[in-house]
């Protein structure tokens, strides 16, 4: 982390799990405090003069899968891109109010190294974007631009990432073949391997399976479920079934606001808000 950010370590560090005091142990039940990976506080976001996101408040839990659902144009992908400042690349797009903390750091602080942030908050897109390079180079790229030159370290890291992405057995004998020669599902897993090779804190996924067949989709979902033991995932999806299968927490967005945010099982069995129930049960609009 940048030395400039030390003084910006606010009370939003990762919470410790259990406070081991005798007072607490005497309580009939001890509630484990939830660890937070990212904290979005009162965020407004504009494209030009259009207010796209309004007063967003979300706490993304560590090592959990959080799904963003909602109709098209409601701001899900916009919020996702706020978390790694990809919106910085869009002219006149900006966070106009509020703060986003990752690992206790305000990521919109002017002193933040955006390239480093994007290493720590990786992204997988709807359309897999394997580089027109070898499979090996695709996965090693992030490490190389971070300055890693040791070939042994690179080889080990690439193998580790490809194994974690459940792709190693399929590609280990052809690492120097082009990444774009893989199937759609394999390319998407290659992109996941590329994202996790740099050991990010959070992995953002914008409809990662919408271009995949059902089997490839299930493989990617299974991968997400396994990797969530180590990484934090935020996934934008239009598939209600995918959200209910894969995620631990779900946030329902509508017209730039978070309408409801809860455990996925509660969201899909007994949502609090009428609009949520109408959307998830197909009675919207």
């Amino acid at each position: 982390m940048s030395p400039h950010c030390n003084h910006a370590m606010l009370g939003y560090m990762f919470h410790r799990s259990v406070i081991m005091s005798s007072e607490v142990l005497d309580q009939p039940s001890i509630k484990t405090q939830v660890e937070i990976a990212a904290s979005i506080r009162e965020v407004d976001f504009c494209y030009g003069s259009s207010l796209i996101l309004k007063n967003i408040n979300l706490e993304i839990e560590l090592n959990k899968v959080t799904a963003f659902i909602g109709p098209s144009g409601c701001g899900k992908s916009t919020l996702l891109r706020c978390l790694n400042r990809m919106n910085d690349e869009i002219p006149r797009a900006r966070v106009t109010k509020g703060k986003i903390f990752i690992q206790g750091e305000d990521i919109y602080d002017p002193r933040v190294d955006v390239a480093r942030l994007r290493n720590e908050v990786g992204m997988v897109f709807q359309k897999s974007n394997a580089f027109p390079r070898s499979i090996f180079e695709n996965v090693a790229y992030g490490l190389q631009i971070r300055g890693e030159r040791n070939s042994k370290v690179l080889a080990e890291s690439v193998e580790q990432a490809l194994r974690a992405a459940a792709l190693w057995d399929e590609v280990k004998d052809r690492l120097h073949e082009s990444g774009v020669g893989l199937s759609g599902g394999q390319q998407q897993r290659l992109c996941i391997a590329r994202a996790i090779a740099v050991k990010p804190r959070i992995v953002l996924m914008d409809e990662p399976c919408s271009a995949l067949d059902p089997i490839a989709t299930l493989k990617v979902e299974e991968l997400i479920t396994q990797l969530a033991k180590v990484y934090t995932f935020i996934i934008v999806t239009h598939s209600m079934q995918q959200a209910s299968r894969v995620s631990d927490k779900t946030a329902f967005f509508y017209l730039g606001e978070v309408i409801e945010y809860d455990d996925t099982s509660t969201m899909f069995s007994n949502p609090r808000e009428k609009r949520t129930e109408e959307y998830i049960s197909g009675r919207f609009g």
Binding site: M240, Q241, S244, F268, S269, N270, P271, E277, E278, I280, S281, G282, R283, F284, G285
Partner: protein
Amino acid sequence: MPGGHIFRDFDHAIRNLKDEVLLMASLTRQNLERATRALIERDIELSRTVIGDDSEVDDLEMKVDHTGMEILVRHHPVATDLRLVISSMKISTCLERISDHAVNIAKRAKKICKGSDLPEVTLVEPLYALADSLLRDAMTAFTDHNIELAEGLKLRDKELDKMHKSLISSLSQQLEEANGKSESLLHLIFVVRSLERVGDLAVNIGEDAVFLGTAQDIRHSSRKETKDTESD
């Protein structure tokens, strides 16, 4: 739910499911009423009708399960729709069991009719009236999402339990006195047991209605209350 589903087949399937459950409830109540009437009026033909009509209730139970499965497989319902499918399938099981009790009463009625006149049969009328009202109100709670009505069934069933206990005690005493009526009295005791079970099953339907309306599971709440009292 104010608006219809975007996919009209889904609303159609849900409507079918509800209709099947309501038809099943209607036939079940009819069977129970006829079985009790057959007993009191010594109508063997009516008993036979009840026994024959039970197969229609059995068929409906399978139909409800089939429709429910179809909805789950094809439409992946969530929230209230999901709870409706689950509670419909559970309620159909309760209704099928109530109809089986109606058959039991009808069979016992046939046996009693073959013996000499048994004035004690009229003693079951108040139990039948209460059991039927519990069943009627349980189904109303299901269709109207009336949580208060559903939650009140348990207390009312306790009244039925008291009546059952008292009548069983009285009939058992008479059994000891024998005088040629003992076999019929024994059949009558089983009829009283069946009516008590109808009350329990109506309470179960009420619990499913609460689950449908609020997603709360209120089953076994008396056991939880006992546990809390013991731990105090």
